[in-house]
């Protein structure tokens, strides 16, 4: 039921990456195309649910997260607003200020001070890779997010939810600094 809220967190995290390039890896010129494989694990699942798709970004305001398997869903950002669509269903707008308790509005913020107010960001470097741990000060749904990347490329993101479920995103065929093909949007 709180799927949309979690989408916020994820997407805003992506946005956050782009906004706070000094802290977290940021695609060159805010241009990105990357394919992902996601593993959703939970205590009530015997094995992870695997999905795949791509993320494309052309500037801060043109963004798409598209899951192509096993079910097509997409989350788009346009005109500074977020939309969610599931195959065969109507597109719905995801409101950023829907639930302040999730600190989602703060994540959308372009103000670095606000982000610092609500999230603790830690970074360690091992074997040339940077590992970032992003922890909300007042966690509601998401306990923490781990990001591993090199320079401006993210290798994987793992989101830890309070219900002990996780989603691990592994990225491949990542291209940054080049405008992605329009067909991806």
């Amino acid at each position: 039921m709180t799927m949309k809220k979690i989408i916020f967190v994820f997407l805003l995290f992506i946005v956050t990456i782009s906004l706070y390039s000094q802290k977290i890896p940021h695609p060159k010129n805010s241009m990105l195309y990357t394919e992902f494989t996601a593993y959703k694990s939970a205590l009530y699942l015997k094995k992870p649910i695997v999905s795949s798709g791509y993320i494309a970004m052309n500037g801060l305001d043109k963004f798409i997260f598209k899951q192509t398997k096993p079910i097509v869903i997409e989350v788009k950002k346009r005109e500074n607003r977020m939309f969610f669509k599931r195959e065969g269903m109507n597109e719905i707008e995801i409101s950023g200020n829907n639930d302040n308790s999730d600190n989602i509005a703060f994540l959308f913020s372009t103000n670095e001070d606000d982000l610092k107010k609500n999230f603790k960001i830690e970074q360690i470097t091992t074997n040339g890779k940077q590992k970032y741990t992003v922890t909300p000060f007042k966690p509601t749904k998401v306990e923490k997010i781990e990001v591993i990347g090199i320079d401006d490329k993210i290798e994987n993101i793992k989101i830890f939810f309070k219900d002990k479920s996780t989603i691990l995103y592994e990225f491949k065929n990542t291209i940054t600094g080049t405008s992605p093909n329009e067909k991806y949007f």
Partner: protein, 825 residues
């Protein structure tokens, strides 16, 4: 100049001035009501339909419609309109108990006191007190602080989450086993698990809550689908509303939370709509508000303007006619005494005793100046013919009293109709004409008696008409009779309201793309308890589901079950749930063995399982469907169109479900025609009564027939006017028939008396002149009504106008010719 120092001039001026002041004070005290309900004869079924409609949430609906060329623009436009909507605050004249309590909860102690002081508690709601300016400002500010704007009737994201959780958590009890497939078969359980996995796959950021574990086979989703199928799709909203299939149109339904006759707030809504339309025009898209409130507001605004216009124009034209024939300014002043004095006393009595009065009755009342002046005209016409008041009264006193009695008997007849508007017209006419007559008899005749008044009556040579004219009259009468034969009775009450072309067109645009409507059609259930009504509505829902799923409606029984239904469902679960099937399919699924143990536990303890607290949105929606009408509770389910209602009704009647359909428009049709026919018989009865009065007065059946000819001719004309103006014979035509009886019989009496009593030429000319002037002043009054955009007032105006003209022609052409023939024969 000499005249102004004469006592009669001073007294007349004082009376006119005082009358003007009384009108000025009384008129603002009278609250105008422009609803067409007042035009409907009240039989029980019709009254119930109307009252139920007024109490239903449909009466409170405001629909925002947006249509764009480019679907990508839609969300941005909606966002901007939302901001406009949220800026408009309302201070309702009436608030429901529930809303009042909700507002109280938001206020601090001081604000609570302001709210409590400003409203008084009624039987069904709180009503605002009369407030002084400072109090009004304080209460306006209070409602602004609590953000009393239009509230969405479509659930928001949080509401949807709560509803989904409710449906999932209670899926075991809510699932309608009576008509949906058995969810516990092996195939259905397998299918349910697949749906559950699909749900997680399509919601990667989803986190499970308790509701997730209480609905392993997605039974809650089936319940939600049922709820959504009866609406335009409001349980899966987009941008807070509903988007059309082509993604280019959008509607959002709001609740106004004030009544349609709350004109001050309706005006705000009207202005908001204007702003939205302006914005739409500027940005090249289609956008507007649609609401029953706007119908009321439009009628109210136009009738207010028209009443003022009709009042001024009819008095001006009446006095102009008066002046043309009497040619003296001072006579205008004397002539004003009975009219303005009569109006003043009428306004005063209505303001003191009635407070609220129908706009149609008021518009009509404004024109009674044309009738009220008749007695003054008759008096002034004879002022120079007879030397003393005594002689004058001897000669025409009986005709005047007879004319007055026949005229007011028509108005008194209206008071006894069971239509509020006609009663109001009757009362206004009775009071206005009676006061005018009395002021004429006791004041005007004393101020300017013949013995003290130097006559300067303008000589007007009215032509006399011979046999040729009589033949023309006969031909015209024949045409009128043919028209009357083709006249049909009106059966649509809306044809009496203002023609709301723009609003009618708007609802057509909305209904082209969406199911929403504000038609007052309801599927209604009765019972001793809510439990009874819920049970009946569930049976109706089941029957429709099994017969035609396209006709499904939003039934409260989807979310709120009767005890009997719950018992049935528990028995079904006990008899049909197979733990082995479930375990086997669970083992084959992706879920761990204990994932749904809570659900299994609930099944084991099914006897103890109860529904959880309903989400606020659903609870409020269901509460609004229960309507208390005079101590009897009804369950009202809105049906989106008359065609659907008809099909639903056919199915439910065939299956013997206990229900009834309430349709304010259709329910009124039969009664309306019945009433019109009955009332027409009443009019003819009145005609017979008048004939009997004339028989007694004249003691001669031939002269009595002559005298009654103008009202008969006028009556038939009034009837045929409906045909010639392309309308059905309606209540207003009927009203004019009754009035024409009373007015036209005067013409008949005065002219017939002149011939019967062998008046000399001068007296006959004076009689013709007085009848002619009376007819012209009446036409000046009623002719103006024909200019009204309100169809009721228009019908009244046209039939009165045509009726008076033909009554005059009958008195002026037919009676003299017939009288001469009688004398010769």
């Amino acid at each position: 100049m000499k005249n102004i120092f004469k006592p009669r001039f001073i007294i007349s001026s004082i009376i006119v001035a005082i009358s003007g002041i009384i009108i000025g004070i009384s008129a603002p005290m009278i609250k105008l009501d422009t609803s067409i309900q007042a035009l409907i004869p009240h039989d029980e079924k019709m009254q119930r339909s109307l009252e139920l409609t007024q109490l239903s949430p449909v009466a409170d609906k405001v629909i925002l419609f947006v249509e764009v060329d480019n679907a990508a623009k839609l969300s941005d436009i909606i966002n901007q309109i939302e901001q406009m909507v949220n800026k408009v605050n309302f201070t309702p004249k009436k608030i429901s108990f529930g809303n009042f309590e909700k507002i109280l909860q938001k206020l601090d102690e001081n604000q609570k006191q302001i709210l409590i002081k400003s409203y008084k508690k009624g039987k069904h709601s709180y009503t605002i007190n009369k407030l002084i300016k400072e109090e009004k400002n304080a209460i306006d500010l209070l409602f602004k602080n609590v953000n009393f704007t239009l509230k969405s009737a479509i659930p928001d994201q949080n509401d949807i989450f709560e509803i989904m959780d409710y449906a999932s958590t209670n899926s075991l009890l809510l699932y309608p086993y009576e008509f949906l497939e058995n969810p516990f078969s092996k195939e259905k359980i397998k299918e349910g698990f697949v749906k559950k996995v699909n749900y997680i796959e399509s919601s990667p950021f989803f986190t499970a809550n308790e509701a997730f574990f209480l609905d392993p086979v997605m039974m809650g989703f089936s319940v939600l689908k049922l709820a959504n199928s009866g609406t335009s799709g409001k349980y899966f909203p987009q941008y807070g509303g509903v988007v059309s299939d082509d993604k280019k149109s959008y509607i959002k339904v709001f609740k106004a939370n004030f009544s349609p006759d709350d004109y001050e707030n309706s005006e705000k809504l009207y202005n908001l709509n204007k702003d939205i339309e302006k914005f739409a025009k500027k940005d090249n898209f289609k956008g507007f508000l649609y609401s029953p409130h706007l119908y009321y507001s439009e009628s109210f605004k136009s009738i207010q303007i028209e009443i003022g216009f009709i009042f001024i124009l009819s008095i001006f034209l009446t006095l102009l006619v008066f002046y043309v024939f009497f040619n003296r300014i001072s006579i205008l002043l004397y002539g004003l005494v009975p009219i303005i004095g009569g109006f003043a006393l009428t306004f005063f009595i209505i303001a003191v005793f009635k407070k609220s009065y129908g706009g149609i009755a008021f518009a009509f009342g404004s024109t009674t100046a044309g009738i009220a002046i008749d007695y003054t005209v008759h008096y002034l016409s004879k002022l120079c013919v007879y030397p003393t008041l005594k002689e004058l009264r001897q000669k025409i006193g009986i005709s005047m009293i007879l004319g007055y009695l026949t005229t007011i008997s028509a108005f008194i007849l209206l008071i006894f109709s069971n239509i509020i508007s006609l009663q109001e017209i009757g009362l206004f006419g009775f009071l206005g004409i009676s006061f005018s007559f009395l002021l004429n008899w006791f004041v005007l005749q004393k101020i300017i008696p013949p013995e003290q008044y130097s006559c300067h009556i303008k000589k007007i040579n009215l032509p006399q008409f011979g046999k040729k004219s009589f033949i023309v009259w006969l031909v015209v009468f024949a045409v009128i009779i043919i028209g009357a034969l083709f006249t049909k009775f009106e059966d649509n009450i809306r044809n009496l309201d203002k023609n709301h072309k723009i609003l009618d067109n708007k609802i057509k645009i909305i209904q082209n793309k969406f199911k929403e409507s504000t038609d007052s059609v309801f599927l209604v259930f009765t019972g001793n308890t809510r439990e009874d009504m819920i049970k009946k509505s569930f049976l109706a829902y089941k029957t429709i589901y099994q017969n035609n799923k396209d006709l499904l409606f939003l039934s409260p029984s989807i979310f709120m079950l009767s005890e009997a239904n719950i018992k049935n469902h528990k028995n079904f679960i006990k008899n049909n749930f197979n733990q082995d099937f479930f375990n086997e399919e669970l083992k084959n699924s992706i879920f761990t063995d204990d994932t749904f143990s809570l659900w299994v536990e609930n099944i084991k303890n099914i006897n103890d399982l109860i529904l959880t607290k309903m989400p606020d949105y659903i609870a409020e929606e269901i509460e609004s469907m229960f309507v208390d009408l005079r101590g009897q509770e009804y369950l009202l389910i809105h049906i989106n169109s008359r065609e659907r209602a008809k099909q639903i009704s056919n199915i439910l009647t065939k299956e013997k479900v206990d229900f009834f359909m309430s349709d304010a428009l259709m329910d009124s049709a039969k009664s309306l025609v019945e009433f019109e026919k009955k009332a027409l018989i009443l009019v003819f009865s009145a005609l017979i009564i008048i004939f009997v009065i004339l028989l007694i007065a004249y003691r001669n059946p031939i002269y009595s027939l002559l005298a009654i000819l103008p009202p008969v001719a006028a009556l038939i004309t009034g009837f045929s006017v409906a045909f010639f103006t392309g309308r059905g014979f309606n209540i207003m035509h009927l009203t004019s028939s009754i009035l024409l009886l009373g007015i036209a019989v005067d013409y008949g009496i005065f002219v017939t008396t002149a011939f019967k009593n062998n008046y000399d030429k001068e007296e006959i000319l004076a009689t013709f002149k007085s009848v002619f002037v009376c007819a012209l002043t009446t036409l000046a009054g009623f002719g103006v009504l024909s200019l009204s955009s309100n169809q009721a007032i228009f019908s009244l105006g046209t039939s009165m106008f045509a009726g008076v003209i033909f009554a005059l022609a009958t008195a002026y052409i037919a009676i003299p010719n017939l009288a001469r023939m009688i004398k010769k024969g």
